[in-house]
Symmetry: D2
Subunit: 247 residues, 4 copies
């Protein structure tokens, strides 16, 4: 297969992990970036194209089924006959950390919906393409990857609007891995345990030892390593954390 | 404290586990039964009252915040000055078992909302009363218990509309246990692994060895045992399954 | 069955949990107490007998197969024809908390052997009796219970001689629950998360809120509640911790 | 650093996973192979050397502290001043699958000792070298990796001599990750869920779909990917299984 004749989609592309994943997968694939606002993906799209890759961005609301389906239709038009080699859901949950009795029903639903409802919609739109790609001559098994959090395995006080959605996402990925593995789609769940080093967290962990934040590029490398696994040897779940993290 | 001078609320009262829990807790408390339809609780209310206990039923939709708050207000009117000694969320998730690609967004949300959104609303309505009861001279620490399922710890194919909600519920109960334990409220999560013996399952597991279904009365006894634990020695989570269950 | 016509064995009887379990089970059974030294069980044996119960103590080293088998033979002589209704392994692991590079091979083995080798030997001696009791008219299903620790589910620095043995014990109890459940033996694993209130820990947690230590009598009540579960509704695992415990 | 100026040690080198790991790590390092018998490593050593790499084999019994220490001393003599970049424990547990009541104390200990005692001894011999390497200019953080099994997280009937040792090994690796991560040593535990494709398993899974066995070379690639992770982004645990595996 010629270079970039297959597609990788990345949903949830801000200046951190999503951008790093898009750049990494752009080494082999044409990449499609999804974010709510063009601001989130424009810089990355530009950087990839300028570096000789192929990237295009779409505005979409992952919680809106029509919006996500629309992106997949546009992608099919823009890149006809190209298999989807990877679909990566990297949308962070939106939530507010607060005492349980101060949490609203809307706040609780919001945490859930941003974490897992969007993942459901994205997976449902992507899977027919990935199943189809499993029968195409692409270099690696088609992959459906999800970025999770420590909150996916541990409930904590004041995180009642965040953690249930991450637990639910983890369950969903396990269901999908079991249902679609035999069909040739590699489903993985990556647990991020620690602070990711992004512009937003630049001021966090001041005074901590050097290297105390997770490197987005290293997350991207880890996803890339999973993507390269042959179907005989697939990872469903792994964790990543900085060397100094307490856990 | 005189007999039945405190209240136990049970949400999700059909002819199985909910009814058994209500009857067990009626040995010490006035019990309040919540279900969507009076059909679900009328028989149990009658049985408890005829046996010398005190029971009252309310129709409520646990996914509707106003509906649940209204029940708590009515309970406060009907039983003024009685502490809430126990609030038990036993509402089963409504879901459809089907291939992921045939699942609708509405079907996915329904599974989540019946499992965990109702639990959120119920817990938020109950906790102020339970925290207050922790300072009252009631015989056992006030308890907030939730009935879960194996699907709370294991994702399975075709259960993508059920299992994520149960994972989420488990997370919620852990958050609550950690936040409200120090305030004196005992939060527990009971994982049911197997078929519960109810009228609905009467025809299931035909030919299996005697005793292959979980006894609702034994679930009630187990909840009762947890309720009696002093605050020095609280169980957050346990499992129950029949002796012949494979796991 | 007349009172105390069945036997409960408790291995690991010091002045804390083991004594409390023995006293609780003495309400229905003749109890046999095992400890390395008579000092550990003499007071409890005396208290049970003086209170109208039946108790006898044996010195045994649970890591020595011959020693444990010998106890079971003596018990069979002393109480012929009495079924064994419960066998409870409550032996704490002996270990030293230290940096990994300062740990000796002997120290590492010691932690393992006290936690899990003794459990293996005790279970193997007890199971033929419990399987036989499952066919006898005893009031509750015969029970094989093990006291575990948080270290059974979480590895920690400096606890490398303790935690692996507790993980191993947890695995063993799960194997046994799955193999012997269908034969009618109830196997449980109780995770103790926190400091147990015993003479040895009297000076610990000074300044902590009242009730910060786990009550041995409440552990005994919890084991008793599990023992009463019918075979339709068995708990394999639960945790207990004080209301103020961080986890 | 010039090519192969650092060392990777692999313990447990038969014709499957161990050989594949040794070959992969030989692309960057001089490799040292440990096995009980020269038969196990001779072919691999020859292949690596003939392919232009550097390999040497040592006979050692990982359960014998003196034997393992002796290897590390010989390595220090043979490769003076070369940092140890990786130490990989891939020794399979020796055990017999049988009913619990037919298991001997010796059989139970054997399973444990081959799984976890050897790991303890190997880790203790390797860690001073790895800690020292963390301060050397080697290309990737020094790594201490362990091959585990599904039996590390799930107890099963008849596997009572295997699974407890694997649970214990998992605990040990977590203790080590937490203690030595801050010192710059990357500790990982890889859960193998399925049959590994080796000469020994050639006749297994006849009739299963193509690709039903785990590829040793892919395990080696996965370890290599973990080894390349920077210290900001380390994986402690992951699983691998074939695409058709039920779990």
């Amino acid at each position: 297969m010629a270079a970039r004749q297959a597609i990788a989609l990345v949903a949830g592309v801000g200046p951190g992990t999503g951008a790093a994943i898009a750049k990494k997968f752009a080494s082999l694939y044409s990449v499609v970036l999804l974010a709510r606002s063009p601001n989130s993906y424009e810089t990355t799209v530009k950087e990839i194209n300028e570096a000789g890759g192929t990237a295009v961005g779409f505005s979409a609301d992952v919680q809106d089924e029509a919006s996500v389906k629309n992106v997949f239709e546009q992608v099919a038009k823009e890149f006809p006959d190209r298999p989807v080699a990877a679909a990566i859901y990297n949308v962070g949950g939106v939530f507010s950390r607060k005492p349980f009795l101060e949490q609203s029903v809307e706040g609780f639903k919001l945490g859930y919906e941003t974490s897992v409802l969007g993942a459901f919609i994205f997976a449902q739109a992507a899977l027919p393409h990935l199943l189809s790609a499993a029968k195409s001559p692409i270099p690696h098994p088609p992959s459906l990857f999800f970025t999770g959090a420590t909150a996916a395995i541990k409930g904590s006080p004041y995180l009642q609007s965040f953690s249930p959605g991450k637990f639910a996402l983890r369950s969903l990925t396990q269901s999908l891995a079991k249902e679609f593995g035999p069909g040739g789609v590699h489903v993985s769940h990556l647990i991020v345990d620690g602070v990711i080093d992004t512009p937003k967290t630049a001021e966090w962990l001041k005074g901590a030892p050097e290297g105390s934040k997770i490197d987005p590029a290293a997350i991207a490398e880890t996803y890339w390593a999973l993507h390269q696994q042959p179907r005989t040897t697939w990872t469903w779940e792994l964790d990543v954390r900085p060397y100094v993290e307490k856990w």
